[in-house]
């Protein structure tokens, strides 16, 4: 009885709040409380803990249950969630976070700085992919009081880099459930306990995950929704049908077939757009193994880039959703994009001239040499691009043999065995070049590490630029260093970024307050409601 009264009270608080405080820039509709929001989940995850696994598939679910120290606001600037404020020392080696008071875990225990220190040192630094890199110089986290966490680094770390990265890599897990256990086997990994607006209820393997409103949530009056359901649908066409029949209301991160987005965009019931997913841009790549004699010559690499008509590929294979890439930093990254044009426009004559100049004349049957191409199938467009590359290069006299493997096979063939001449897949940009992108170019990446520099290519200049930029505290100088980095790697071309694309989401228009910040699908949906 007490619970019902409390819920009723919360609901009335919510409606009053919304009426009293009409938020600027948003539709002036009155939010309705209640209802169930159903997401499409394209593939099941092994672990639902974002402090152990950094991937969009994990975030779609776990970001509603767990909370990060910071998130991004509508303009893409870091805003406090579990942290209320932060301050960096002048030398850039110490960052102090003040934590939110009165936050409790879903099991009733209070959230404190001990949770932050434990998660940072034991989970992020040891297990979290990308987190291990970001926190490699983290030496200690001091906890002078329950609401203060002081991060101490061995090297200066730019605050902007840290905060931007923490939106994804800053989720806090409960120390009292993880301490002293084998964290990878912890039952809380699939029955998570967090501080977020929704509490985990049920996970039916192969079918669905359910979370319900957290009545003790620290943002008073939130969330609006009663329940969130994630439905596992692996077949893309079946997922489109589920969206059309209303079985799911949101499918995001390009989980439907490209042809279906084209069709659904004409249906007035849905919003098909990249709004609210801008923080995760991605590229189609062409990766060169420069251990191969012909590819060691930069003229051959450039010739290959010139031989491929990227605008044609985008228009005819990607339904126009994308543009030719300008380099490793996408144009959507306002803080770092240097503003250059695509470096290698389509030019068959130039391509042929470069190949001739490099000394590879056409031989028998017009073939100069043969290369093996391994597609790394992140998406349905990867094998299409592989075929398009094969046909384009045939025209300039390079024969390409495609070796089709599933993704686990392709990763080990390319990054562990180096058994490729060309590879094509996706590069995902995660908001800051130091988080996701420079590993593709920095030398010294251990053999077998996927999506890193395994090309047999090395440049002292580029290595130095990468290292300097990672610890440069002045944002203006940092941007200039990255501009220099882009110019250099575009010239040397160890890998060629073919397209620049955004993920696509499909959402029912009855869902309100959705995609209102650049990483919305990986955020908490506390203010989302359904106009039923």
């Amino acid at each position: 009885m007490a619970l019902t009264r409390r819920e009723a009270l919360l609901a009335s608080v919510a409606t009053t709040l919304a009426a009293v405080l009409p938020t600027a820039g948003r539709a002036a509709e009155t939010p309705k409380t209640g209802g169930t929001l159903t997401y499409h989940l394209g593939s099941e995850q092994r672990i639902l803990n974002p402090a152990l696994r950094a991937s969009t598939g994990v975030y779609i679910v776990s970001s509603k249950i767990f909370e990060s120290l910071v998130d991004l606001d509508a303009e893409g600037k870091p805003v406090g969630v579990l942290a209320t404020s932060w301050e960096a020392a002048a030398d850039g080696k110490t960052v102090t976070f003040r934590l939110r008071d009165g936050v409790t875990w879903h099991d009733g225990k209070p959230f404190t700085s001990a949770d932050v220190a434990y998660t940072a040192l034991e989970l992020w630094k040891k297990y979290l992919n990308y987190g291990t890199q970001l926190q490699q110089y983290l030496e200690a986290v001091d906890t002078p009081d329950p609401l203060t966490a002081v991060f101490r680094y061995a090297r200066p770390i730019p605050t902007a880099l840290l905060l931007r990265a923490l939106a994804d890599l800053g989720y806090i897990a409960p120390k009292h459930l993880y301490e002293g256990t084998n964290v990878l086997e912890n039952p809380a990994n699939t029955a998570p306990i967090g501080t977020g607006p929704f509490k985990f209820v049920q996970y039916e393997r192969g079918q669905f995950i359910v979370a319900e409103r957290n009545p003790a949530y620290w943002r008073k009056g939130f969330p609006y929704l009663d329940k969130i359901v994630w439905r596992v649908i692996t077949d893309k066409s079946a997922a489109s049908a589920a969206l059309e029949t209303g079985q799911i209301q949101i499918s995001t991160y390009s989980s439907l077939a490209l042809a279906d987005y084209d069709r659904l965009a004409k249906d007035p019931r849905f919003e098909i757009s990249s709004r609210g997913i801008e923080a995760n841009a991605f590229n189609n790549t062409l990766e060169f193994n420069v251990r191969r004699k012909e590819l060691a010559d930069v003229r051959v690499r450039r010739a290959i880039a010139h031989a491929i008509n990227v605008p044609f590929f985008i228009e005819n294979f990607l339904y126009g959703r994308g543009k030719p890439a300008t380099g490793p930093i996408p144009s959507s990254s306002a803080a770092f994009f240097p503003g250059n044009p695509p470096p290698y426009p389509f030019d068959v004559k130039k391509s042929e001239a470069l190949l001739d100049e490099a000394g590879y004349k056409r031989g028998a049957g017009g073939v100069r040499f043969t290369l093996k191409l391994v597609p790394i199938q992140n998406g349905e467009d990867v094998p299409l691009l592989a075929t398009y590359i094969q046909q384009s290069l045939a025209k300039v006299g390079i024969k390409v043999e495609i070796q089709l493997l599933d993704i686990a096979g392709a990763l080990s063939t390319v990054y562990k065995d180096w058994n490729f001449d060309l590879a094509t897949g996706w590069h995902q940009y995660r908001g800051d070049p130091a988080v996701s992108t420079t590993v593709w170019y920095r030398s010294g990446s251990p053999k077998g590490s996927p999506w890193t520099n395994q090309w047999g290519w090395q440049s002292d200049v580029v290595d130095k630029l990468i290292d300097d930029a990672a610890s440069e505290l002045d944002p203006v100088k940092r941007k200039a260093l990255y501009a220099e980095f882009v110019a250099k790697v575009n010239e040397e071309l160890p890998i060629w970024l073919v397209t620049e694309r955004q993920f696509i989401g499909a959402t029912w228009k009855t869902v309100k307050n959705h995609h209102n910040q650049p990483r919305w699908d990986s955020s908490d949906a506390h203010d989302t409601w359904i106009d039923a």
């Binding site: 092994r46 192969g206 079918q207 439905r231 596992v232 077949d235 079985q247 599933d406 993704i407 686990a408």
Partner: protein
Amino acid sequence: MRIVLLALRRLAASLPTLLVLLVGLFVLLQFAPGDTVDALMAQMGGGDPAAADELRRFYGLDLSVPVRLGHYLWRLVQLDLGYSAIYGKPVAEVIVERLPPTLLLMGASLAFAFAGGLVLGVFAARKVGRWPDTVLSTLGLIFYATPSFWFGLMGIVLFAVDLGWVPAGGYEEIAGGKTGLARVLDVAWHLALPTLTLALIFLATYLRIMRASMLEVMTLDFVRTARAKGLSGMAVLTRHVLRNALLPMVTLIGLQAGTMLGGSVVVESVFALPGLGRLAYESVVQRDLNTLLGIVFVSALLVIVVNFLVDLLYARLDPRIVS
């Protein structure tokens, strides 16, 4: 007693097959490039090699192949199927969760295909060479030749998206809290379309076999004798012809029990059903060896059981087989 002996003999004969199957699959999968940690890295979008090594230790992949095979077989003897890498819990538990949807889908489609094939086959045989026979045979061939994913998707587009008669997918209403009869009806409503899809594809085979076997039996001497005896057409058909014509149909059930488990991968994916076929596919993609071997083990057991039942049925239909 005789039945028990037969069962034991069958079991003894199938044990070596089972062993060869499991060891063969284990070895075969070693040839596939990439392991479950590579698959996990793909799912996570990358990670550093130290973490990957840590994970390989966690999944026991740092040991040599013979040692792992030895461990696996030793655990199997103790009836322990191991730990599923994808789901992070014991394989036996994962498989038990998936069995009801698979068995329901498989059993229902098999029954439907068998019954439909029987009735339509008899009908076609009686009208042999005339238009109903031609129409049935052509339709049967069309269903047989249509890929199941296309068939399923078209069913979804027509009956779920356009007409709204059935749900587009899923096993039951999510967290609907239904119990008893309401839940049974809910599951049946969700499974109607996938069952029909799977059954129609298998129907053609049963129809053809039944028709051919009816035609063959109808020309045999004992049928003429029965007619000469003055039995009615119906009595000849049910008591003499049908009983003999059913034997090849029963054989086919035994053979298809295995196929239908595999054949349901596509149907399960299209209809988002949590069945064994999809689990097997997922285990291959994720290189989850324990789960895959577990599924093979359970499927093999299932096929052995079904074939045993088929043998019993043979004996009942044709006493000559036992004596």
